[in-house]
């Protein structure tokens, strides 16, 4: 008898609880940005909830490396949240094609974004957009200003100046010239190859030509970044082969390395960790006055679960995410994640300002391997990680690495097969 009573009481309490919540609609956000939990909970969500009573938002992130797998299984099981943070290009496109993500083309806020900003979350023909762009990350080099001042080095703008600076730091011996390792592989590809590459392949021009099949990875412009990477080897720390990404971050923020090949997402972490003044410079060009190209990679967006029980409220939130108000709040809470909104956003962080100022003087492009080209097997992005790491370790020559990548791409990508 007591047992039935207990069960009855429990059931009654669940009924009461659900009745109490029925007035508010609760929306859940799926995300891989578990570093940002506090910013969402303390800044972004309260701002929305105050303006929109009756809608509650819960930010529920997963570990970055597991996000794609966890999200896919949640979507298949029908237990995913109403809002889904979108990876750029194919991972999200696949979700849209499977019917997991709703078409958001008709959202009024979409007018706030340029076609380039939306391109990462559109169908190949650009007809449907399925995520509201949130932020991009910019590649460049962050340097230790105190070290540069002590050694009398000016910020390099050309490649010759860059290597002269590295030689000078190496000769002095106080600092490791470049903080990078090859253990995790992606540093070599993302902060190496795709950082310095756009200057060689002329940003969008080369990237689109590669997709169209009019350029090949074995062309001089695509091999040259590997040739430069091979020269980096002499400036890395002892045992860089076993140096991991967190090792590189710590070497730099502890003041043991002078230059850090970076993505702008490092800014907030470095601001907290580093006890010295920092500056940043874009990838150096061949000759002074050359047009510079930067990787301004569309990285993060927010979409709607097609099976959401509250589509109206979810769309309301997404409209807000597309507003200039959100853009300002997000960009300042997370310096280094730059708003994709067409409305200019005022940022207070000097390092973030330096990065974003390159948009004005350089041509923006995105990572060459992300759109379309990593759709098949072997996967061009993952092969590029491996090739970049091999080239830096000098276990593969730049030409051999490029030839291998081209052969792999041509094995499944029709426009490249014809060559």
């Amino acid at each position: 008898m007591t047992k039935t009573k207990l069960i009855g009481a429990l059931m009654a309490s669940t009924l009461l609880a659900s009745a109490a919540y029925a007035e508010d609609v609760t929306l859940t956000i799926e995300s891989w940005r578990n570093d940002d939990v506090l910013i969402w909970q303390d800044t972004i969500i309260p701002a929305f909830e105050v303006a929109n009573p009756g809608i509650k938002i819960v930010f529920a992130p997963t570990a970055p490396a597991e996000y794609n797998a966890v999200l896919n299984s949640k979507l298949d099981a029908g237990s995913a949240g109403d809002l889904v943070t979108c990876r750029p290009f194919d991972a999200s496109l696949e979700l849209y094609k499977k019917g997991n993500l709703a078409d958001l083309t008709s959202l009024a806020a979409m007018a706030n974004f340029s076609p380039v900003a939306k391109s990462a979350w559109q169908t190949d023909d650009g007809a449907a957009t399925f995520c509201v762009p949130m932020a991009s990350v910019i590649h460049g080099f962050i340097y230790n200003k105190d070290a540069f001042d002590a050694l009398g080095i000016a910020v390099p703008t050309t490649r010759d100046e860059f290597f002269a600076a590295l030689d000078k730091i190496k000769a002095d011996g106080t600092y490791i010239p470049l903080a990078m390792g090859t253990n995790d592989q992606w540093e070599a590809a993302t902060m190496g190859y795709n950082n310095i590459g756009p200057n060689y392949w002329k940003g969008e021009e080369g990237r689109l030509a590669l997709i169209a099949g009019t350029q090949k990875l074995t062309d001089a412009d695509w091999v040259a970044p590997f040739t430069e990477l091979a020269r980096w080897k002499d400036y890395l720390g002892d045992g860089f082969e076993a140096q991991t990404y967190p090792d590189s971050q710590n070497l730099f923020t502890l003041g043991r390395a002078a230059i850090y090949p970076a993505g702008s997402w490092e800014i907030s972490g470095f601001n907290k960790q580093a006890g010295f003044k920092m500056g940043a410079f874009p990838p150096p060009v061949q000759a002074a006055g050359d047009t510079c190209y930067i990787s301004d990679h569309t990285d993060i967006a927010l979409g709607m679960n097609a099976k959401s029980a509250h589509p109206e409220e979810t769309k309301k939130f997404l409209e807000w995410v597309g507003s200039p108000e959100f853009a300002t709040m997000y960009a300042n809470a997370l310096p280094g994640f730059f708003s994709l909104n067409s409305t200019p956003v005022a940022m207070e962080d000097p390092l973030a300002q330096e990065f974003v100022s390159w948009r004005g003087k350089c041509q923006s492009s995105i990572r060459s391997t992300y759109q379309i080209l990593s759709r098949g097997t072997p996967n061009l992005e993952n092969e590029t990680w491996n090739a970049s790491a091999n080239v830096i370790k000098a276990t593969e020559t730049p030409d051999a690495a490029a030839a291998r990548l081209q052969e792999g791409l041509a094995s499944w990508y029709a426009p490249q097969k014809a060559n």
Binding site: D90, K98, D238, G239, A242, S374, N386, T395, G408
Partner: protein, 305 residues
């Protein structure tokens, strides 16, 4: 009057829970995996593909290169365990079973403790110790004047796999030690005394009397090592990540399966090819176990006391 025995229902009732649980969590998933490997996805629709996935795995130059690389690495991983872990385990057990050794309980516990540590802890701690930047390994070597011997082992293609295999040996040497130790303790004193009467003592007593008696245990350890190594994944994943760097030098079947099945970074997961690799692993282990059961175990002599 019937002289037929009544049906013994209680046997079924007692077996049912184990059979049901085992079927639900082992047998059904196993056959589901085998089944999945026979299908392929065309435009997000599953289609029967017969042995097509296996033809891709063994016939396509890229897939087969990755597969043979992983299998080769896995074999080397196993060989290191057989040549290092098991002899050391036997040696430690022989030393521990010596009645004159003081503090045997302490050594036994100390050597066994790494076995209960999580792979993630072991991977992380060793990675830190061997780190060229923060690790104690370069400092220790330079303290004894051998700094030049140090290399970033985990980052060099030539050493990385052997280094990881030795880390795994360090972690698991306690298991063969315990099993052999138990086997050595179970040898009756009369046998030992009789051999002493015949003048067989010391090392020759170990080789001529004890070793033949613990051979069945060594066989069990070998097969456990084989199955464990060919199913290994955790240590490599926690130390080197899913790409099993440098340049796939530490890629074993487990990491190859994981990368294929769940996808990695921009590579989307391919459940069907993943299941194909899992099936290949299943058969490799099955063949290995069969060779052991039919060719080795039947020839092992057992002694009854």
């Amino acid at each position: 009057m019937s002289d037929r025995k009544p049906f013994r229902w209680h046997i079924l009732v007692f077996l049912a829970p184990a059979v049901l649980v085992y079927t639900a969590i082992m047998i059904i998933p196993l056959f589901a995996t085998l089944n999945l490997s026979l299908y392929t996805k065309v435009d997000r629709v599953s289609q029967f593909n017969g042995l097509g996935n296996f033809r891709t795995l063994f016939g396509d130059p890229r897939w087969s290169a990755s597969f043979w690389n992983a299998l080769g690495n896995n074999t080397w991983f196993f060989i290191v365990h057989m040549l290092v872990q098991n002899p050391i385990g036997i040696l430690l057990a022989a030393i521990l079973s010596n009645p004159r050794l003081r503090g045997a309980a302490f050594y036994r516990t100390a050597i066994f403790i790494p076995t209960i540590l999580s792979f993630v802890v072991v991977g992380f701690v060793w990675k830190l110790m061997l780190s060229p930047i923060w690790g104690v390994a370069p400092d220790l070597l330079s303290a004894v004047g051998l700094k030049s011997w140090f290399a970033p082992w985990l980052g060099k293609e030539a050493y990385a796999l052997t280094t990881l295999a030795l880390i795994s040996v360090w972690q698991f040497v306690g298991i063969p030690m315990m099993l052999i130790y138990a086997a050595l303790l179970s040898i009756p004193d009369e046998v030992i005394e009789a051999s002493e009467m015949d003048g067989i003592t010391g090392a020759s007593q170990f080789w001529k009397i004890k070793l033949p008696l613990i051979l069945p245990s060594i066989g069990i350890i070998s097969i456990l090592t084989f199955v464990g190594n060919f199913n290994a994944f955790d240590l490599i994943y926690s130390a080197q990540g899913a790409l099993a760097g440098p340049n796939f030098a530490t890629d074993i079947l487990g990491t190859f399966l994981y990368r294929t099945f769940f996808g990695f970074q921009l590579q989307l997961g391919d459940q069907n090819m993943g299941a194909t690799i899992a099936t290949a692993m299943f058969f490799i282990i099955l063949i290995g176990v069969c060779i052991y059961l039919f060719a080795i175990q039947t020839r092992l002599r057992r002694y009854q006391f």
